[in-house]
């Protein structure tokens, strides 16, 4: 299959991208607002073309452990869910991180806490960037703001996951999952043969060959001295990721007097607010973190230091603002504007909040 331009939902793009980036397997459980991922895969029947395995599991707990099994066997694997389902997956995510396995997990966030609502939200920022499960671990968190990025981050997520042997998460919100846009689907990437898996994942548990000892994938180590060494190795990987993989995008920051920090869909709505402000002669710039972990601390700090105030716009009660405040470290005023419960604000509302909380006449 060649490169192809299509009009589709973000969730559908995730499914198409998974096939085209050479996924070996998808395991998932239906939950609104991302059920189109599994539906699209089942309709596409990739097992007939690329040989990809697609399986509807009995729960998110089972899905993430199927992901763990596939990843432990060196395969290119993903799952997708939405907030309550990701909570169920946190145990598995901790195991996958601790076993140093590459895997891709997608969270199309809905409003919480609890069963909450099926409308869009960004209230899982803490869960995604600070761990979620037990123990000292991180995974790479990519925040798409367009259907194109939904597609592209599937490939990027796997590239980073295999490079660092760590899980990666696409943290999207219900807006990006449900909206339709033009998307350029990549050409078909061939799946790896078993021999290629053996070469690129010499640690994989897929049946030992005479030329190597057995592979055991485990996160268990009862000897504290050894467990500390394991933890130090995880931390060294995280420091490497922080040094090499920070991604962000800026808009209007060359001449801005103020700064908005926002990720995902709300960053695009904030961009419209910035355009409205500029018509009134108020110069605001935007930094949109693409990697939420590792967070673009340095760039946020640099841009904030030359502005008169920072507004953090999120679809939550104030989560990323904690990372922004850590980066800014009190040098400039940082305020939050957010809507809760699945409400998405308009550009005017964002501009009004900016004028009320940040703007100095």
């Amino acid at each position: 299959m060649e490169k192809e331009i299509r009009l589709m939902k973000g969730n559908e793009a995730l499914a198409m991208a998974a096939i085209r980036y050479g996924a070996d397997a998808y395991f998932g459980y239906p939950i609104t607002p991302q059920s189109e991922v599994l539906e699209t895969l089942m309709a596409e029947q990739p097992w007939e073309t690329t040989g990809m395995v697609v399986l509807q599991a009995e729960s998110e707990v089972s899905s993430i452990n199927m992901v763990y099994g596939a990843a432990a066997a060196g395969k290119v694997v993903l799952t997708s869910s939405s907030s309550p389902g990701i909570s169920l997956m946190c145990e598995g995510l901790s195991y996958i991180a601790a076993s140093e396995l590459p895997a891709l997990v997608i969270n199309v966030m809905r409003g919480g806490p609890g069963l909450g609502t099926i409308q869009p939200s960004q209230a899982d920022y803490f869960q995604a960037t600070k761990g979620g499960g037990h123990g000292d671990y991180h995974f790479i968190v990519l925040a798409p703001s367009s259907v194109q990025e939904m597609c592209d981050f599937v490939g990027l997520g796997w590239d980073l996951a295999f490079k660092y042997r760590t899980p990666a998460m696409i943290l999207a919100d219900g807006v990006v999952g449900q909206m339709m846009e033009k998307v350029v689907l990549p050409p078909q990437r061939p799946r790896h043969t078993d021999e290629e898996v053996r070469q690129r994942c010499p640690w994989a548990a897929m049946g030992r060959t005479p030329d190597r000892g057995r592979n055991v994938v485990t996160s268990l180590e009862l000897d504290s001295a050894k467990m500390e060494v394991n933890n130090e190795r995880f931390q060294a990987t995280y420091r490497q990721i922080e040094a090499n993989e920070v991604r962000f995008e800026t808009y209007g920051t060359e001449d801005c007097d103020y700064l908005i920090v926002a990720f995902g869909s709300i960053a695009r709505i904030s961009q419209k607010a910035v355009e409205l402000a500029r018509k009134e002669g108020i110069k605001i710039g935007i930094i949109r973190p693409i990697t939420l972990w590792p967070f673009p601390h340095d760039e946020v700090k640099r841009l904030a230091s030359k502005s008169k105030g920072v507004l953090v716009v999120e679809l939550n009660a104030g989560q990323m603002i904690e990372d922004v405040r850590l980066a800014v470290n009190g040098t400039v005023k940082v305020e939050h504007y957010g809507r809760l419960g699945g409400i998405v604000p308009t550009p005017d509302e964002i501009l009004d909040a900016f004028k009320e909380k940040i703007y100095q006449k």
């Binding site: 596939a70 195991y95 000892g213």
Partner: protein, 253 residues
């Protein structure tokens, strides 16, 4: 001088399986795990499938199964082994994929994973050690603990009104269309060991032939948890466990 000088290979009638390595086992003397581990290693070796076998270890006493049998292993979170085995089996359809699970892992925290993997007819073998107690955590009640049986969390004996009934998960699994073979065995006598070996071998062959899910339940002793000597444990198992969990095939297609 090594063993081959003392007993010439042609005179050997019994030896340690090549896939059972020299690591000291952490199991208590009298525990059934050691015998079942030996059988698993012996059968994989006899079937010549060591290079395409992936075992999935549980949480519980046999969490360290991977330390003793020289094949590739994945260590599961508590109860999740059948989900992991599902993925590996589907992605490597020619492999022999088996889980090795205790009663708490398989019949309490992992009931959903067990039943749904079996109901999908995953081409895996589930080796189920049923000793009616949680050995690793210090002898607490298991879903299979007998009524009246004393454990750390049923210190006055298991009561229906407090704890419900012992779960006959093997019987449930035999009802599912996805299973091709469900059998209940033990390893407390040489004859029982031979039968258990034949059962595990049949289960592994079913998995290689992709006939569906095979389950080999081994009713086992936990003399430490039961607070009995190894010999008393065997006797107690025959007298009490076999009544609730009778030996033999529950399903054999």
């Amino acid at each position: 001088m090594d063993i081959n000088d003392i007993i010439k290979p042609e005179n050997q009638v019994y030896k340690k399986p090549a896939l059972l390595n020299d690591n000291y086992m952490h199991y208590c003397p009298g525990c059934s795990h050691g015998v079942v581990h030996k059988l698993v290693a012996e059968i994989i070796e006899e079937m010549g499938v060591g290079e395409k076998t992936v075992g999935v270890a549980p949480v519980g006493c046999s969490v360290f199964a991977y330390n003793y049998i020289d094949v590739d292993w994945i260590e599961a979170a508590h109860g999740r082994a059948p989900a992991i085995a599902t993925a590996v089996s589907r992605l490597y359809p020619k492999n022999l994929v088996f889980t090795y699970q205790g009663d708490g892992d398989l019949a309490a925290i992992g009931t959903a994973e067990t039943i749904h993997a079996a109901n999908r007819g995953e081409n895996i073998t589930i080796i189920f050690i049923n000793n009616a107690i949680y050995g690793m955590t210090g002898g607490q009640m298991a879903p299979t603990t007998l009524l009246g049986m004393k454990t750390a969390t049923t210190p006055y004996g298991r009561r229906v009104d407090l704890n419900g009934y012992p779960l006959k998960i093997g019987d449930i699994l035999a009802q599912l269309d996805g299973t091709c073979y469900v059998t209940r065995q033990s390893v407390h006598t040489p004859a029982a060991v031979r039968k258990a070996k034949a059962a595990i071998k049949k289960a592994f062959q079913n998995s290689l032939d992709r006939k569906g899910t095979s389950v080999v339940e081994i009713v086992s002793t936990c003399n430490s948890g039961w607070k009995l000597t190894p010999e008393q444990s065997n006797k107690w198992m025959v007298e009490h466990m076999f009544e609730k969990y009778p030996m033999g095939d529950l399903k054999n297609l």
